[in-house]
Symmetry: C2
Subunit: 523 residues, 2 copies
């Protein structure tokens, strides 16, 4: 006998790495985005909203952190549409950040946009990465960028704005710091290292002129620079000693696996560590340390000057060293940064998964990327900007207990007599017109207990009851569910005896009395 | 000689059918979404935000309007990730509406959600359709649904909420109407037609018993029902006469092409037209017309009763026939509706592309769909809801001139001396702390004319100037750009002579004076 065919039902499941957000979570994020938009707008930035979908061609290959596994975008090829077999349209993809679309927009609309073009954007981005605990493939970013200005005043302004934004969303001064650095400084150090360590670095000296040898070394080092930057960027995770090992032969990670290093000669590793350690609590001291390290490199000196200018501009606007810290360990592992780079870090302590204290860490980053628009137009367009990780910032506020969001449910009008639904509807209608969140119970009204259970599940402050007696008397029963819960907790009526948790009011006083009770509860 | 290889640059272009939104457009939509969320929340609905991506399996095949060309979703298959050649993961897709994800969410989380579950959701949805003028492949929806309530009170409430929402976003009473109908009425008519027209419909009478014949006709008609509903839904476009032709043999469209009809016998077409024409300006009259048409059908009679109940409940809440109209021509071309259906229509006139007056039409629709969750769980879960087409509603408000959004640019602090950037930064910093939108000009400051041109392009209200003289005197020059533009327009200084468009203020009075001037301009 043939087995009866089982009905195949679809699984009710979010795809791997995606999640749903309910109620207060949605409201909290919306509130935060609005607050951030307000600060960005006050700074003169204009909103821009691009579609989630771009051509793969336009997105390019600027995806950060290319050393992660499964890195990529969600992409598909356009069908002809009339003929599903006819493939060969454009490749489309979900945006992986908000910067690549900005470069496309600026190139596409540059004749109609003011220069500089200052825009902010907020919305989800998608990464086709291996999902993990707390790591999702869709998350929110909140960016502001200035396109078409080469002035470090633009970079400085973004750092000031990061400070204002963090304070606006509820991070107190003292609980954050914006750390700034400049890629030119690192480039300069690499330059100067090439000259200083020529003999030491090339084991088998070249037979060309000394100048030619320097050029070769510089090229070798430039090729290594990306790896060096990514390694330096790991100082938060592995410490200075770990970075030293990773720049040299390599190191064992916590699982015991050996991670191959950059194999730089010790003399270079030492100089790079000096760079990492150049930081002082005094910005002026840090700058003079860096000046000494970059030596005769023009680019390095320019980088130090830019840092100096940024610090001065920020100080002039009231953003002093308590909030803006020059820190050479800020590298930002992204190839495309060309000048100033910065990172907003929350400094308060949290516990890691093993219960050890650590500082919360970075919630925003950014920097100058002068080559991004050039891909489209061939013209170099200087640009700088920042991206705030909204979900991380929300997590931080949650940990600090600073997310105040109203989770109060609606006033619930119970249904005592299902034929009198119109009366109950009239009650909520009045309440809603008065701005009071309310609803009629719309489940099966047979079991009154279920109605109160529902009100409880919704976190409702008040239930309203009108049976035949109340109807005849022109009254309503009001159940104060907040007080009721308190009484249930303390298990004695003594201290609440002056304030009954259920009482009767005239029907005509509905709005007035419910408003008064809600105000009372809110105290 | 070989041709020099041309550098291939990516095209700076949005994919076909997608667009960018700038400045005020973004702000207006954000404002509208917030306003709508406010009304939905007041009605007791909770926010839900799902990811843009769902499994194709979970989305199912509920895409509306399947008779459109190129209909479909944007979908792709998951890679294994570690091995790009290893295909065979889940098929994922961008959501095409917000209802399919809701069904998935309810099935997935039903044990943790209250019943009824009332949720609202807003965000973009994606359709892989052929794009056209004004027709985009990403657009916003704004939904509210009640899952787990079979009561028509839930449907009535959604209609009331649609009224409140339209008024909240700026559509005046009298400029809209919510038209309601019930699928059961149409089903009932089809039932009753089957019995009445048995002989007329089946050309070659079957040899079975009469009862068997009725069953066959009913089945034939049920199969036709979808086509009938889609045809009736076209009454807005082709008129009652056009519908009659499309239910019968067919008709020539405006291009002269022949559209094949449903080939229903004339007696059935006639009854269906009676149904369409049952509408009266008086809801009670419409109901009695419908009662007569559904004849002895139980389902039809139930539909009429439900319409009656909805109209009564709505009237009890103050939503009378000036806003709620029973209209049998509301069919909603979507197969899955099972009971009440409704549509919010803007009734004011606009001109179509040929300059002929027509009413703006539908901006929201919805209805009861009791089978959607069943796909996942096997259990029937009653549900009803609405979806507002936010972009269409924005277009309507735009046409009515009711979109008030502040397009004023920032106060621009010009740069007279680039070495004094810190001073200019300090000025904007003060202004921003006082909540005034402002910025320093960050382009190349060499040409002062370009700075004023920039301020003009940004729609700035005020420019601030401080050269060496002003610095020495401790003052600022203030340029009232709004007044300046007015003077330029009228080409005479006479009427403005008491109010100069440029004047000097003490540096110390910055915030006070700029605030005063902005207030003056806002008058």
């Amino acid at each position: 006998m043939a087995k009866p065919k089982k009905i195949q039902r679809p699984k009710a499941q979010t795809p791997k790495g995606f999640r749903d957000y309910f109620g207060a979570e949605v409201a909290q994020r919306t509130d935060m985005l609005q607050t951030i938009a307000g600060v960005y707008h006050r700074y003169g930035f204009e909103a821009l909203e691009t579609a989630a979908v771009e051509t793969v061609d336009a997105l390019g290959k600027f995806l950060p952190d290319v050393d992660r596994p499964n890195e990529g975008v969600f992409a598909w090829q356009e069908d002809d549409g009339n003929d599903p077999d006819l493939k060969g349209g454009d490749w489309l993809a979900l945006r992986y950040d908000l910067t690549a679309p900005l470069a496309r927009v600026y190139a596409q609309h540059r004749n109609d946009l003011p220069t500089p073009y200052r825009r902010f954007a907020m919305g989800p981005v998608w990464r086709n990465e291996k999902p993990g605990p707390g790591r999702f493939r869709q998350f929110y970013q909140c960016d502001a960028d200035t396109v078409g200005s080469g002035s470090v005043a633009a970079d400085a302004e973004i750092c000031a704005m990061l400070c204002d934004t963090l304070e606006a969303v509820g991070i107190e001064r003292g609980d954050y710091v914006v750390r700034i650095n400049n890629r030119k400084v690192l480039n300069g150090i690499i330059d100067s290292l090439a000259e200083k360590t020529l003999k030491g670095f090339i084991a088998d000296p070249l037979t060309q002129s000394e100048e030619g040898e320097i050029a070769v070394v510089k090229r070798v080092l430039k090729n290594l620079a990306e790896g060096v930057m990514r390694t330096l960027d790991k100082v938060d995770k592995v410490g200075v000693e770990g970075v030293a090992e990773l720049l040299g032969k390599g190191r064992k990670d916590s699982s015991g696996a050996f991670i191959e290093g950059q194999n730089l000669p010790p003399v270079i590793v030492e100089s790079l560590l000096k760079f990492l350690n150049a930081k002082s609590s005094d910005n002026a001291k840090t700058l003079s340390n860096l000046e000494a390290i970059v030596g005769g490199s023009d680019e390095g000196a320019a980088g130090v000057r830019e840092l100096q200018t940024m610090a001065d501009l920020l100080a002039a606007g009231g953003y002093g060293p308590d909030r803006i810290v020059i820190d050479p360990s800020v590298v930002r592992g992204l190839g495309y940064y060309t000048g100033p780079v910065f990172e907003a870090e929350l400094t308060f302590e949290i516990q890691d998964e093993k219960g050890r204290p650590r500082s919360f860490g970075s919630v925003a980053g950014g920097g100058r990327y002068d080559d991004l628009v050039k891909r489209f137009t061939g013209q170099e367009v200087p640009a700088t900007g920042t991206s705030i990780g909204v979900d991380r910032l929300l997590a931080a506020l949650h940990m600090k207990g600073r997310l105040t969001s109203d989770t109060t449910g609606p006033v619930v009008v119970t249904v005592m007599d299902r034929d009198r639904m119109a009366d109950y509807q009239a009650i909520v209608s009045e309440l809603r017109q008065a701005g009071i969140r309310s609803e009629v119970y719309l489940g099966n009204p047979k079991n009154f207990g279920n109605q109160l259970k529902y009100a409880d599940q919704r976190n409702s402050p008040i239930a309203i009851i009108q049976g035949g007696d109340e109807l005849a008397a022109g009254t309503l029963q009001i159940k104060d569910l907040i007080l009721g819960a308190k009484i249930a907790e303390t298990a004695t009526h003594e201290e609440w005896k002056d304030r009954p948790s259920q009482f009767e009011i005239p029907r005509a006083d509905l709005v007035k009395r419910i408003k008064a009770l809600l105000d009372e509860q809110a105290k």
